[in-house]
Subunit: 412 residues, 2 copies
């Protein structure tokens, strides 16, 4: 039996910087329908092919007028205007207006030639005989959107590496951009290794367990906007592990190896990773619990992460690493996940030199903040996590957190 491993552990943030210094992602691009592009990342700046609006529009229900005809108008001394017709929605005004004339218009209606403003219906009064009184003056351009005022043809409307939101999809479609070039999301390959592992569909005989890392890590990758690739389970031989890792590596932009529980599988992981290409293994051991035996590597410009085999450890470490990798792949600034402020129910101790992640349950109280109750007991059990609401980070070298202190917990 090989001797136990001792690691020179590195804080997660430092390990990610080390990785970044060896990795320049080059995401592929693809054209997709703008209507389907929610949350996708634009590949390049987009320029508007059209002006919006394409024509001068009224922003009110009322009358298109010459502003000069209303100058000085007031309730006491209204301006009289002859209404010569109505501009129908979606149509070109049938006629121009001249001095002293007005055309009824609706919000969004096209201004006729001759008009340079609109008066709101609320400031007018119909006096019969085809005439109205305008009881308030309007300035030229008042209650009107000029052609191109929303956006000019040729103006940049979207920068590259921009995450598309509902409003952006609206803006793009408003100028007829029906296809948009976006980055292809990273393919995150996930390979498990271990003779004790079986796919979840198989009822495991005594001694064996279902491999669930492929599914928890897929779900995490999906949440982060990546495309998960489940690469199956490698047998606990160097040959099978290597063959499956190489095949999976070829299809992946980021490769996660979750290295069973057996000592040999753990040992193979280093060799398998170094065999995938230079520079290979960069760091073995992170200052985090769970997750200490994690491997950080870059092979031929792709990150390769060796995760612990325990499902809880694998998921909690991947949560610390994968968001960074996917954001960097897509040229995004990593957003801090939303945190929930809570009051800690019990003192939690922590060893110096590592960051601890503890599962907590949140309980509403009369107080403003919920109570965060750490779920003690065996932290490596998946149902501890299933029963938890959030994770509490006990910072590096904090010596723990006191009962009653306010903490920020990350929803699971």
């Amino acid at each position: 039996m090989p001797s136990p491993e001792f690691f020179q552990v590195l804080p997660v943030a430092d390990a990610l910087k080390l990785l970044d210094s060896h990795w320049q992602p080059t995401p592929a691009r693809e054209f997709i329908a703008t209507a389907d592009a929610l949350d996708r990342i634009s590949a390049a700046e987009v320029v508007s092919p059209e002006a919006v609006p394409a024509f001068r529009k009224s922003t009110v229900d009322g009358y298109a007028v010459r502003a000069a005809d209303t100058f000085g108008a007031s309730q006491a001394l209204p301006a009289f205007l002859e209404v010569i017709g109505e501009i129908k929605m979606g149509e070109i005004p049938g006629r121009d207006i001249g001095s002293g004339q007005a055309l009824a218009i609706h919000t969004g209606g096209m201004l006729p030639e001759g008009a340079d403003a609109a008066v709101m219906i609320e400031t007018t009064q119909v006096i019969g005989g085809g005439e109205i009184e305008a009881m308030r003056a309007v300035a030229p351009g008042e209650n009107v959107i000029q052609a191109g005022e929303d956006v000019a043809a040729g103006a940049a409307i979207l920068s590259g590496r921009h995450r598309l939101r509902a409003a952006d999809i609206g803006g793009l479609l408003a100028v007829g951009v029906e296809q948009i070039e976006v980055l292809r999301p990273p393919r995150v390959g996930i390979l498990s290794c271990g003779d004790e592992l079986l796919p979840p569909a198989v009822a495991p005989p005594p001694g064996k367990v279902r491999d669930i890392n492929a599914y928890t890590l897929s779900a995490l990758a999906q949440t982060l906007g990546a495309e998960p690739l489940r690469l199956g389970i490698a047998r606990d031989t160097l040959e099978d592990y290597r063959a499956r890792a190489e095949a999976g590596f070829a299809e992946s932009d980021i490769l996660l190896l979750s290295a069973g529980s057996s000592v040999s599988a753990r040992d193979y992981t280093r060799d398998v990773i170094n065999g995938l290409g230079a520079p290979g293994l960069l760091q073995h051991g992170l200052a985090t619990k769970p997750g200490k035996p994690t491997i950080i590597a870059v092979c031929e410009d792709k990150p390769v992460i060796g995760l612990p085999g325990n499902p809880v450890s694998a998921l909690l470490v991947a949560r610390q690493i994968l968001p960074h990798l996917i954001a960097r792949f897509l040229g995004q600034t990593l957003e801090r996940p939303p945190l929930i402020r809570a009051r800690l129910a019990l003192r939690v101790a922590s060893e110096t030199g590592r960051e601890d992640w503890l599962a907590v349950r949140l309980r509403a109280t009369d107080e403003e903040y919920p109570l965060a109750e750490p779920l003690f007991g065996k932290s490596n059990l998946i149902f501890t996590l299933v029963g938890a609401d959030a994770l509490l980070r006990v910072p590096l070298n904090s010596g723990g957190l006191d009962a009653g202190s306010l903490v920020d917990v990350a929803p699971l």
Copy 2:
């Protein structure tokens, strides 16, 4: 031309309470693959069909032993144990152990009969002749997970109306639950009305514009976990509007009508909604800007919302209403969207009696918080929203917000 409308406006929260008092959603259920169930809502409590682990396991690399054989052991006075073999990962131990015996075991390995604890390899030393020294005592059960310790067969592992997270998918698959009954997400029908509207694929002739509300509202619904149904564009006649609304209503769980810009379309909306069923229109007019002319209705136990036709107004109002409706449909507590704390660059005024929503751009500064710069100008232009990073809510009756104050803005 009809006379202008005056509304008795209601704060959005009150309008939603009014709606809830007339609406009891009854979501349909469906079975789907657990592996695909991320973010779906469980329809009912799930009970574990199996115990996890199914067998006693070691949590360390080391030796399976009888704890009693190690009692009193120390570095100075180790216990001697005869190693009678190794338990391979994923296999049933070939043999039991007796007093003074040990079997080498790996993390996750199955404990043999006769053993009741495991000693960590780090606390042992191989002394040759098939013997080891155990230099630390272990208690019965130490470094062992008992069968069923993670979860017992028959235990409730998931409550109903629970949003499935990565860990939950892992837990379900760990006990072989490969299919799960979830709620069918609400179908949000979206119908636009107006003679000036054309689908985005059509280059609009002068006077007409592309209808983008179907797409911005679809994207919003999608973000919220609903299934959008784009119902097309109704012509500005009561007959066409009614026919399309009725057909769309039949397929939808929630119906959004965005009622063009023309006065007649706006008038039709009330009639069309009341024609869809009782109780019909509940409130016309919200104390929010943009969005004042919004209609809140329930017809035959489905919410029907009449939105303004302007794309910015429609989207900003829908952001205030749709999250509540979808959360309630799925039996979820509405989570406050993540907010960004920012320092307000300029004073913003606000009228008493309504809540204002202002588009802001966020600019990083030397300070801890970004600077929130309100994008003034015409708030009803879609590219004002495209150029914005977030929305600032100016609370009801606040009289505005001062320059330099800290505000929470909602990312767009």
